[in-house]
Amino acid sequence: MMNLASMLQRLRTSLFHIESRLLQVTGFERQLVPAFAVNGSSILPQLDNEKEFEEQPEGPDQPPGFLDGILWMAAPKKRRSIEINRTRRRSESKLLKLKTNIEPCPECGHLKQKHILCGFCYAKVCKETASIRNQIKEMEGGPFGAPAVETVVLYEGETPSAQDKDKRIIERPRKRPAWFGV
């Protein structure tokens, strides 16, 4: 590889020689180099100036341009030690957070969060409302049959009171659940 590079360099210098000789011969020589070269009809090679001219671009031993970017990319300099790794992995933000808002539901004893309804109790209520809604569906018959009166739900053995006069009565064939109040 080194021989090739030096060979190429020598080829370049010899080409430059030939060019300058031709220019001198034809008389269209231009002053490429600084002032101390005198314009004469000498055929002596101007070796020093040419060398100066040519070596400057060859100084840094790299091809210019597009490959410059690769050497700038980020890479870790050293292996991270286990202590550094541990402090990062076990930092406060990465540990599991403790929840202090969990408590047992007073009705059923299942665990619930303080600001959220108990899942078990809600499932109970959902089941009962679903059966009430099924009965309403049967009463209404088809779709889009919502009446323009209030609805009241009565369980076994209950009679409509004075307030339930103009309301639609849904009768559920079971005992009133303890959690359904009045």
Binding site: Q113, L117, Y122, V125, T129, I132, F144, A146, V152, F180
Partner: protein, 166 residues
């Protein structure tokens, strides 16, 4: 488009983005509101329930104006996609909340949805609905030991006062 820091951070922005855009958002909320008026208790995500709450209460305010009012009828017919609910709104829901000025709805948070998304869920209901209450009323049990002892103590005190008076 200027890629500003303001666009990345939404600190302090109050407007929620639902669906595909503002029109889509209104359509989604309208469907949820129709369901709420029909069933009086619905279960959705927390964000949607919070958004619908405002519209549900405003709809009741419009309904209180009466069904002869032009604006109220237009609002009701726009917001309720199922037209059998319009008489229900004016004749059932508006009289129910006659004495109240605000606070017709109640939102309660539920445990997160069981799906992969674990979304925050909420129950949105009109107060005064015929269904069983979500927060059961606590009843004092007369037959517990402490209550029986207190009852006896009260009776003794009353007896002593009677004897003192007479």
């Amino acid at each position: 488009m200027r890629l500003t820091l303001q666009m990345l951070i939404s600190h302090g922005r109050m407007a929620r983005r639902i669906g595909l855009g503002p029109e889509s958002r209104i359509n989604i909320l309208r469907n949820i509101l129709t369901g709420l008026v029909r069933y009086e208790r619905i279960e959705t995500t927390l964000g949607r329930a919070d958004e619908v709450r405002f519209y549900a209460e405003k709809l009741i305010d419009y309904a209180k104006k009466g069904d002869t009012d032009e604006k109220a009828m237009k609002m009701a017919s726009f917001w309720l996609t199922e037209k059998d609910l319009v008489p229900k709104l004016f004749k059932v829901l508006a009289p129910r909340f006659e004495t109240q000025t605000n606070g017709y709805t109640q939102i309660s948070r539920l445990p997160n949805r069981e799906n992969l998304d674990r979304a925050k869920m909420a129950v949105l209901e009109y107060k005064g609905n015929p269904f069983p209450p979500l927060y059961p009323v606590k009843k004092e049990n007369e037959l517990t030991l402490i209550n029986q002892l207190l009852k006896g103590y009260r009776e003794d005190m009353a007896q002593q006062l009677d004897t003192k008076a007479s």
